[in-house]
């Protein structure tokens, strides 16, 4: 397996970017894919709170931290590096990847790059897509509609869609379904990965005593997200193997 980088970004805060990152780390673990994560919410690091063992907080605009990430892609044990990009920094991060030559290496198929762009409800997201489009020609690019916080999305205009995604052959759409608010809140309070919460464990491995109902909601939600990642063939994309064209997402109740 070639080293792969997954960028998870959004043009604005509060659209569930870190939630998607957390779900993705759980998904990769469930598929026995060893991953490391970089949290660019420097210096706070929300992702690190939930996945402390595999997350480093970095400033992706600093050269030293860029070296920590990209110079170790080949030597690091985990072959998948996930970067949770600070809100509004997706375009700048991709530009930085271009400047350090990473995008050329992706074009040469030395590395795989998957970009998950978590959408906000406003038209500003389309502007962000236009900003990122020039950098993602060789990446697998996905728009993530995150319904976890009851976001309402604008309807896609087909012409606008084709205009923005003409340059991204692997572009597709991922849908993150809504999670029961109380269940989500309990996971937040627990401060553990979703999978740990479902297993009724604390971060130290001891029994937590969480509600079975809330764990059930989270388990079902994780199953639906995993089905989405499977639908778009994410494991194959990380291996840089051609994946069958992703099917349209099923209409989900919100």
């Amino acid at each position: 397996m070639k080293p792969a980088v997954i960028l998870v970004g959004a043009d604005k805060g509060g659209v569930g970017k870190t939630t998607v990152s957390r779900a993705l780390l759980d998904y990769l673990a469930s598929r026995n894919v060893v991953a490391r994560a970089f949290d660019t919410e420097h210096p706070r690091g929300t992702l690190k709170r939930f996945h402390p063992g595999q997350t480093e907080v970095v400033d992706i605009t600093s050269t030293s931290d860029q070296m920590r990430i990209f110079d170790t892609l080949l030597s690091a044990g985990p072959k998948v590096s996930m970067i949770d990009v600070r809100a509004g920094q997706l375009g700048a991060s991709l530009r930085a990847l271009q400047e350090v030559g990473f995008l050329d290496a992706v074009k040469a198929r030395e590395f795989s790059l998957v970009v998950l762009h978590v959408l906000g409800p406003s038209i500003a997201s389309l502007d962000e897509i236009e900003e990122t489009a020039p950098f993602i020609g060789d990446a697998s690019y996905f728009l993530v509609k995150n319904f976890i916080n009851d976001t309402t999305f604008f309807e896609w205009d087909p012409q606008t869609f084709s205009h923005y995604f003409r340059k991204a052959p692997e572009s597709g759409e991922l849908v993150v379904p809504k999670l029961n608010a109380m269940a989500y809140e309990q996971v937040e309070l627990a401060g553990t990965p979703f999978s740990t919460f479902v297993a009724d464990r604390r971060s130290d491995g001891s029994a937590a005593g969480h509600s079975f109902v809330l764990r059930g909601y989270v388990r079902t939600w994780m199953r639906n997200i995993s089905a989405e990642f499977d639908r778009v063939g994410l494991p194959k994309l990380l291996e840089n193997k051609p994946s069958p064209a992703p099917a349209k997402p099923e209409k989900r109740s919100r």
Binding site: M182, F212, T220
Partner: protein, 236 residues
């Protein structure tokens, strides 16, 4: 002491005898001195909180708090027999939630002896729903409760009941209307009421109620004996 179990008493249609069945099951356990916890999903009237006062609580499935009260309560390993009274308006939500969160699989994983007691009313919808439950939760024992006051006797009805996915369960004869109204209006422990009835209660009504309760308790006793034998090892 009777081995603790979980009984989900439910029906999609109103007046099928869910409350009566759940009440009788709880009364049987209390009559034997066994601990019992009853969960009433009717948030407005919650009749079980009056019938088995001190042993019942309300669980409104329209709220997450109520869902936690019910499902987490049913899975609690506290040594009590747990009985859920799923009234018709909570039925669909209960079935969907139980499926979504994997309730019956979790109960099986914990070794909980779980039974769905489906209050049948002899209608086409009732029959279809019973089969739907059986197909959705095939590993959970399904029992049929037939309330004689709701299911008129007759060949047609008997034929319909024979088409249900199981013939195991309970059959409660119709209670005399006068005795039934006394029963419905009495808030308290049934066995105690029959042993020490109010002085102004007709001896005829008292006899009919005793007979009716006895017929129910005999069936529960037989069911408990059967469970006890099922739990034994033939080779051990």
């Amino acid at each position: 002491m009777t081995r603790p179990a979980v009984f989900i008493v439910c029906a999609p249609n109103p007046r099928a005898g869910v409350t009566t069945t759940a009440r009788l099951l709880a009364e049987w356990r209390l009559y034997n001195g066994d601990p019992v916890s009853v969960f009433d999903t009717d948030p407005d009237f919650a009749p079980q909180t009056r019938f088995v006062h001190g042993h019942a609580r309300t669980a409104d499935l329209a709220t997450v708090d109520g869902q936690m009260a019910l499902f987490d309560g049913l899975l609690a390993d506290d040594g009590a027999t747990r009985i859920a009274d799923i009234w018709c308006r909570s039925y669909r939500r209960f079935v969907d939630l139980a499926g979504e969160i994997g309730f019956f699989a979790e109960a099986a994983r914990r070794g909980t002896d779980t039974h769905i007691v489906f209050a049948a009313d002899g209608s086409d919808g009732s029959l279809a729903e019973a089969w739907g439950l059986h197909e959705r939760f095939p590993d959970t024992r399904l029992l049929i409760a037939v309330n004689g006051a709701r299911v008129p006797p007759g060949d047609h009805t008997l034929g319909r009941l024979a088409s249900f996915p199981t013939t195991q369960g309970f059959s409660f004869p119709a209670l005399d209307p006068v005795a039934a109204s006394v029963l419905d209006g009495f808030n308290g422990r049934l066995a105690r009421f029959i042993d020490n009835p109010p002085e102004d209660l007709s001896i005829v009504v008292r006899a009919r109620m005793r007979d009716w309760v006895t017929k129910a308790f005999v069936q529960f006793r037989a069911f408990d004996v059967r469970r006890a034998f099922e739990a034994t090892s033939l080779l051990g």
